[in-house]
């Protein structure tokens, strides 16, 4: 592996790989778009992984869940930006989408709970419960099954960026 570059804040530099921008209207016009976008982007960024087929399958599986979360928000206007970048064994997904203040609060809480010590228990309770999986459960599952970590970035007025780091290359088979 080459030298590790860090930005000013001390975080390693993630090299951009691929980005897809879509009008929210176009995105939510068909549910299958989640599957198409996640599958296409997974294929594109997995070519140079040690096992491209396995990596593509794992990445698509995780990314699709995030896109489904974005799809279910059903915003009428604005843009959805999906950006994937890489540092070493970690792929970073950045999803930027319109977000009203109440939703921003939900994501802030969800991201803090995912990082909490009870994440696993919360996830198991949700699986054994009656309710359909919530957005929070989707994030919990990514943290538990894919070792994903989450962060929220400001992306302007009424817009947020959900930053998800996926260390899939290091996941045991």
């Amino acid at each position: 592996m080459g030298p590790v570059h860090h930005d000013g804040a001390g975080e390693p530099t993630f090299e951009p790989m691929i980005q897809i921008d879509m009008e929210i209207k176009a995105f939510v016009s068909a549910w299958r778009h989640c599957d198409y976008v996640s599958t296409y982007m997974a294929r594109m960024i997995s070519q140079n992984r040690s096992d491209s087929v396995r990596h593509s399958n794992l990445f698509s599986s995780a990314f699709n869940e995030l896109l489904e979360v974005a799809f279910r928000m059903r915003h009428a206007d604005g843009e959805l930006a999906c950006r994937v970048s890489r540092h070493g064994a970690t792929d970073r997904i950045e999803l930027t989408f319109p977000c009203v203040p109440e939703e921003r609060q939900f994501y802030e809480e969800a991201v803090s709970q995912v990082a909490g010590s009870e994440a696993r228990e919360r996830y198991l309770n949700s699986v054994s419960g009656d309710l359909a999986p919530s957005r929070e459960v989707v994030l919990l599952e990514l943290a538990i099954d894919y070792n994903a970590t989450f962060r929220l970035d400001e992306a302007g007025a009424d817009t947020i960026t959900l930053v998800v780091d996926l260390p899939l290359e290091g996941l045991p088979n």
């Binding site: 096992d51 699709n64 699986v127």
Partner: protein, 391 residues
Amino acid sequence: MNPYLLPRFETQYDINDQEFSISGIVRPQSIDELAPSIALLKDSIDRVRGILYVNIRRLTQMNNTAFHAFSRVIIDACRARPDLKFVVITSSVVGWTTRKFGRLSGIEPNITVEEYDSEFYPGQTFLEEGGFIPILRTQTKLTWRHERTILPRHGMQPGIVMADICCGIGDFAVLVQREFEPSRIVALDHARTSLAYARNVAAEFDIKRIEYTYGDASEMLLEDDQFDLVTCRHSLQVFNNPKLILKELFRICKPGGRVYITNEKNSHCLGEPRADSIQWTYNEVAKLWAHFQMDIELGPKSRRYLIEAGFEDIRVESFMITNHDGDPQDFADVIAAWENVYAGEMATKRGDPPAFIRRFRQGFQDHIFAALHPKGYAGWPIWVASGRKPL
């Protein structure tokens, strides 16, 4: 037909095996889309006693909406019927399945998760130990002299997209890339030791455009209609169900593309002098492989297999590796490796008596004698066959 409406998954219930299987890509927007499958699962549960197997080996993708819906039914059944056990069979090839479904056993003790792995193939472990790697390299070196001129007659040309299924240690893929420069090679095998070796070689020699992937040839993650040429060498003869592998090779091949297979007929190995002893031993090799559910006699049957799998424009030819292909010692080394595996391991495991093993070994030794004799001749025939997937 609108592609948005095409179902991409299938659920089945096999009453004989008490097995409910889910295959394909299951990413519904709402659980309503799963209603028939959920009803089938509930019906399956109502019918079984003891254990219900839930087979997800061929499940490529499943979103949380679907996972929750199927899990809910299984968990409820555990609570309503403590007499019932569930065994979920996942695949080691599909990275997320064991982790995701494995959580269920933490919720209900009557749910267990078993990961299906290549070890389930009978007999193949004999041929996949690390010690066999040098001999595989020598074998490929010997066959390549012939195959490099044969391959263009079976669809090989520069710029194609190809897959080498059961790629072993990957040396064939490397030779193909150097000689023919396809635009992309996906090389798949189910032996992690072989793949690790292949990746090391690729890194060491800075070989690009070969993607080594872990997978099961009988149920690959690779999508339909992808490759101009699919090669599968010396492998159908090693599987107990070659038709299943061919079905998969057919699936991933592009319409108009070709599938290329090579196989042996070991009883036709020959040598002079000491022909009778050599002949006897290789006849016994065929019986020994059959005992372990492998058909080392498959070579000439390739044409039938390809026709029955739906291919057209079948092309078959054969070639003979001999002690005159380069260094006779290479050929002798290959035979010595066969003796070690067949007489030393497989015959022993079959429980053959010492007298049989002695005679069995003698045939290999005589073949080596013929190979190294200044006036000798030793041969190992291989059948090549390919078929075109209809447009």
